[in-house]
Point group: C2
Chain length 408, copies 2
């Protein structure tokens, strides 16, 4: 049972310290897998872990750990990813690592050696911002990413993943895991506006959504805007617009938490005086329930086919992302809910609409994901902001959770 509050100034000191390790030619925080800013950030974090009295080590692939040894080798792990998007904010990923460090320092100085070992992890990569591959860190913790899958991927400058990995002093995973992870707790900013709008401090995530993405192509006929009567047109933007309206209206009536987004749309030839011959648009659908998501998708795909047929356009739909929803550990969810109720923390049971390392960890390890509010829901942006009081409440919840899992 924790009584004192954690030192919230320390959280901001660490976040600001870590944020210094960034590409200064870009706005916000930019730190890509294995680049010089990434290396100096990991080294700086290792120093902080050491100063806090933790035993530090890297694994083969670039994940950094700060370990507080307990009576048992069995480990409770917390942390997040150290890489950022290009021109990201100070909280995405960074907060989860810093919070883990502050939490362990607190537990160490107030309660001493735990029953189970506790580790904070600074995961090498989650965003996929340098190479077109995501979750390099967590995927290698719960398994092994084979060289064939990523070795030849190239970054913007033509450097291969393999070269970048080697030049930072790491390798593909060689060593076999010897520790048992009994639980993983990730603390993260919400990256959405729900907690702020609903005036809640903590979000307890029950599911991370599944994501399906499609590329939809509609082919009609490019025609002169003046000389083609309405009745003779095969107008691809009109058909696409009907589809967008239907997709959005259906998502609203289908009920929460489904979300459907048409985020990218391109028309050809894209000239004011030509009826567009071709439209392509992306469709991103997320839900926490695989079956319901499937039903929604089937419904809208049938409607889209009908619309294209009726308007005599060719329709092509290609799926390019196919992720299923991932539930968090119900035991951990209950534990954290109990803590919030006991401590009078204003929490909300929710889902995550964004992807997180927790969804990878959860495939092998009992996992929890805790959110703090994001101001206006802004993320992946230098404007990313969470109030320091909320950051503090997040760390407090994390401390309580780690205490329950490692000390009781």
């Amino acid at each position: 049972m924790v009584t004192k509050n954690p030192d919230i100034n320390k959280i901001m000191d660490y976040i600001n310290g870590l944020s210094k390790h960034r590409d200064l030619t870009k706005e916000g925080v930019t730190r890509l897998l294995f680049d010089e800013y990434w290396i100096s950030a990991q080294n700086w974090l290792e120093d902080q872990f050491k100063i806090a009295g933790l035993c530090t080590y890297y694994d083969d692939v670039g994940n950094l750990y700060g370990r507080f040894e307990g009576d048992s080798k069995n480990t409770i792990m917390t942390g997040s990813h150290v890489d950022t998007v290009i021109s990201g904010g100070k909280y995405d990923g960074q907060y989860g690592i810093v919070a883990g460090l502050v939490a362990i320092e607190y537990l160490k100085s107030n309660f001493g050696k735990p029953k189970k070992s506790i580790e904070v992890v600074s995961m090498a990569e989650e965003e996929g911002s340098r190479f077109p591959f995501t979750f390099w860190g967590s995927k290698n913790i719960i398994g092994k990413v084979p060289e064939e899958e990523v070795g030849l991927l190239i970054d913007e400058k033509g450097v291969t993943f393999k070269e970048a990995l080697k030049s930072a002093g790491f390798s593909f995973k060689n060593n076999i895991d010897t520790k048992t992870i009994d639980g993983f707790i990730e603390l993260h900013i919400e990256q959405g506006g729900v907690l702020e709008i609903e005036n809640k401090t903590i979000g307890i995530v029950e599911h991370i959504v599944g994501q399906k993405r499609y590329l939809v192509t509609l082919k009609g006929e490019a025609n002169h805007a003046g000389t083609t009567p309405m009745k003779y047109r095969k107008d691809s933007i009109h058909c696409a617009s009907r589809m967008v309206c239907m997709i959005m209206e259906r998502a609203r009536t289908f009920g929460e938490p489904i979300v459907a987004t048409v985020g990218k749309l391109e028309i050809d030839p894209n000239t004011s005086n030509v009826v567009p011959g071709r439209v392509t648009f992306t469709l991103d659908i997320r839900h926490i329930d695989k079956n319901l998501m499937g039903r929604y998708i089937e419904e809208i795909m049938n409607e889209m086919k009908d619309m294209a047929r009726e308007m005599k356009l060719d329709l092509k739909v290609e799926k390019y992302m196919n992720g299923d929803p991932v539930p968090m550990s119900s035991h951990l969810v209950r534990t954290i809910k109990g803590i919030c109720e006991e401590k009078g923390i204003d929490f909300k049971m929710m889902h995550s609409g964004a992807g997180h390392d927790a969804q990878i960890m959860a495939l092998k390890v009992p996992t929890a994901l805790i959110f703090v509010p994001s101001h206006k829901g802004i993320s992946h942006n230098p404007e990313e902001y969470t109030r320091i009081e909320d950051l503090g409440e997040g760390v407090k919840t994390l401390i309580e959770t780690l205490y329950k899992l490692a000390y009781e």
Copy 2:
């Protein structure tokens, strides 16, 4: 009264001869105002006019004339523009000039000197493809384009209009018109698919549509596609899609000949996993009746305002083209209709949905515009095609018309 048919092979010979004067680095025919291909095309046409026994001259601004002197100085004029779009076809503009030449040759050899003089004009420019200015040729025939209006416009390479004009040997209009134009007849391809679909040979244009163009900007909120519930979104592509559907459906129920086109649409940030914060789209509306067009526009603008208000988006509408409909001379329309009826030509009374030199000439001179079919309505494209029989019927109709106006 004309009895023999014109030599249709001659039409294609002239079209092919003229088409040789083009930028060979581009597909189709490309010949921009005052460029080297334009100069050689005008020179070649002048030679053909001379060979046909016409008196030739240029005006100050680059229009080329072939004159067949009649008993009176009063002139019946025919022709079209010699410039093309980039990668245009062989018929747009060119056909009208060639047809005028073939018609005058025919009349000259069969009927000799006319009562009124007849001129074929190869107008310098109509398309606005080199400089952002249209109808340079016809605007200078019926009036005077002042230097202030176009002198400093620049082309793609940074050459000013004034420099291009001078280097081709021309100037802004200096000389006062001395001739009286009693009528202008333009023969042109339809650039739409109506005549072909309805199996007609000749279109007699009663009106050239008015064109209004708008740039519509919708500003909502860019949000994360996963973390923003549907109810908290200000989705600009959803709102734009509702507007497009409404605009198109209203245009269909409003009745012909209104046409409404959303040809260009851009969304920001245009990323699959971000709810679009901003959409801009163009709206092109055309009608032959100014009042009806005004009513339609008022209706859709009101609906657009309602939609934006309801979805809490900012709406901005900017008008950037504001052309009124132009009627053709009802006397000439009746004359041509009479000819078609008498000669058993399968004609259609119609309007032009595209702009033509005729709409400028009509502001000062009794003007007619005659269409021949465009295969599949394709124009401004190397695929532009009209059957030779149809080209022949067009010339025949032109000959009959010129005969009535200049000989009777």
